[in-house]
Amino acid sequence: MTDSIIFAGFGGQGLLFAGKLIAYGGMIEGKEVSWIPSYGPEMRGGTANCSVRISDMPVSSPVVSNPDYLIVMNSPSYTKFINSVRPGGKVFIDSSMIDEKCSRTDIDCFYIPATELAHDNGVDGMANIVLCGKLLRETGVIKTESVENALNKIIPESRKALIESNLKAIQIGMDI
């Protein structure tokens, strides 16, 4: 079983971090994982995205062309990736940022006003993590506690407050 996920949006929305968090969680569960960003000058245009795979077997190519899951936080990325999602796949859309509605019937789309929710709940700028919460809830790609463990690994102890707010953001996503 391999799950593949694309995280896409503007630079600064934390999508590379979100991808890394999920991958790290998978690793903690003992799975094979990979993460790869799109890189190079096109980054400068302002978009940033990454591919993550979580698998029971060695990961072949880390580059994902047809994701099972898509987390998307801006309109250009939505347009770019929505049709690449595999039939049966799930898409998590920050509806605070994206007005479009998907017409595909072979995938599940979740419209989450993540940016607003984050703002309203005092975790400004953590829309990415809110969406991760929803991803966990809807897909079970990894366990919630794995993400919690991952946070403890990735974020240095000195910034404990940051861990707290990340956890809060996940909870918000889980709760929608």
């Binding site: 000058p41 400068r44 245009g45 302002g46």
Partner: protein, 252 residues
């Protein structure tokens, strides 16, 4: 009402790949304005080496060549020696011209090669994601000076106009800025002078343009102009470092 400002003809009508507020675009336009004003689009060959402006071949309507990193002055020499009646300019970043291309720059100048160099000093390697450039200011944080440029380890910034003023073939070495409309107009005058020197076969001309890189400076475009004024200009003083036509032109 008449149109008093519009895109110059020699500038291609396409969207650039530059980050919002990057001053590369301003300098492109100035060059095109001069090309239009001198009516030389059909007689000009532009050369852009690697750097954020590598794709400028799509933005200028004159013939264009992409050069390897740092080698534009050599490529320009090859073109100019083949076509001495054409205008040849290069458009180079600070990493390109003042690091890997140092020898090519200085020797094109020493040869008095009759070409014009537009030199974009944005104190960083823009295209590769913001590493230290030879022009990075002391203390400036970049990807490869994460603790700020320590001149003891990483050396001092290189001042190309100052250096080139010591090279006999240099006809013009001038440093300008594009941080305000006034400076932009000054920059344009300098670029015009450079092209005129080339037309008059007087030798090597270089215009160093202090420029911004909002993306890698981690600032808004407007803040970037401010930094340019507050930090860059004091370190890299604007002015004419050498101009062999200065005397003749002194009553301009």
């Amino acid at each position: 009402m008449s149109v008093v400002f519009r895109k110059p003809d020699s500038m291609a009508d396409v969207n650039t790949h530059y980050c919002p507020g990057c001053t590369h675009g301003i300098v492109h336009r100035l060059i095109c304005e001069i090309i239009d004003e001198m009516g030389i689009e059909g007689d000009t060959i532009g050369i852009c080496p690697v750097g954020c402006s590598v794709m400028a071949y799509d933005y200028f309507n004159c013939d264009m060549i992409e050069a390897p990193h740092g080698r534009a002055p050599a490529v320009a020499t090859g073109v100019k020696r083949s076509l001495p009646d054409k205008f040849v300019f290069t458009y180079q970043g600070d990493g390109d011209l003042a690091a890997i291309g140092t020898a090519e720059t200085i020797h094109a100048a020493a040869r008095g090669e009759n070409i014009t160099i537009i030199f974009i000093n944005n104190t960083t390697y823009g295209m590769t994601g913001g590493q230290m450039a030879p022009t990075t200011l002391p203390g400036q944080v970049t990807q490869t000076t994460p603790y700020g440029r320590d001149v003891e380890k990483a050396g001092y910034p290189v001042k190309m106009c100052e250096i080139l003023s010591q090279v006999d073939g240099t006809a013009l070495a001038q440093r300008v800025s594009v941080d305000s409309p006034k400076e932009v107009q000054n920059a344009k005058k300098a670029i015009r002078k450079a092209f005129q020197i080339q037309r008059d076969r007087k030798g090597f001309s270089i215009v160093e343009v202090l420029s911004t890189c909002p993306t890698n400076w981690g600032m808004s475009p407007v803040e970037s102009l401010e930094r340019l004024r507050q930090e860059c200009i004091p370190y890299f003083p604007l002015g004419v470092y050498k101009d062999i036509t200065a005397k003749e032109n002194s009553n301009d």
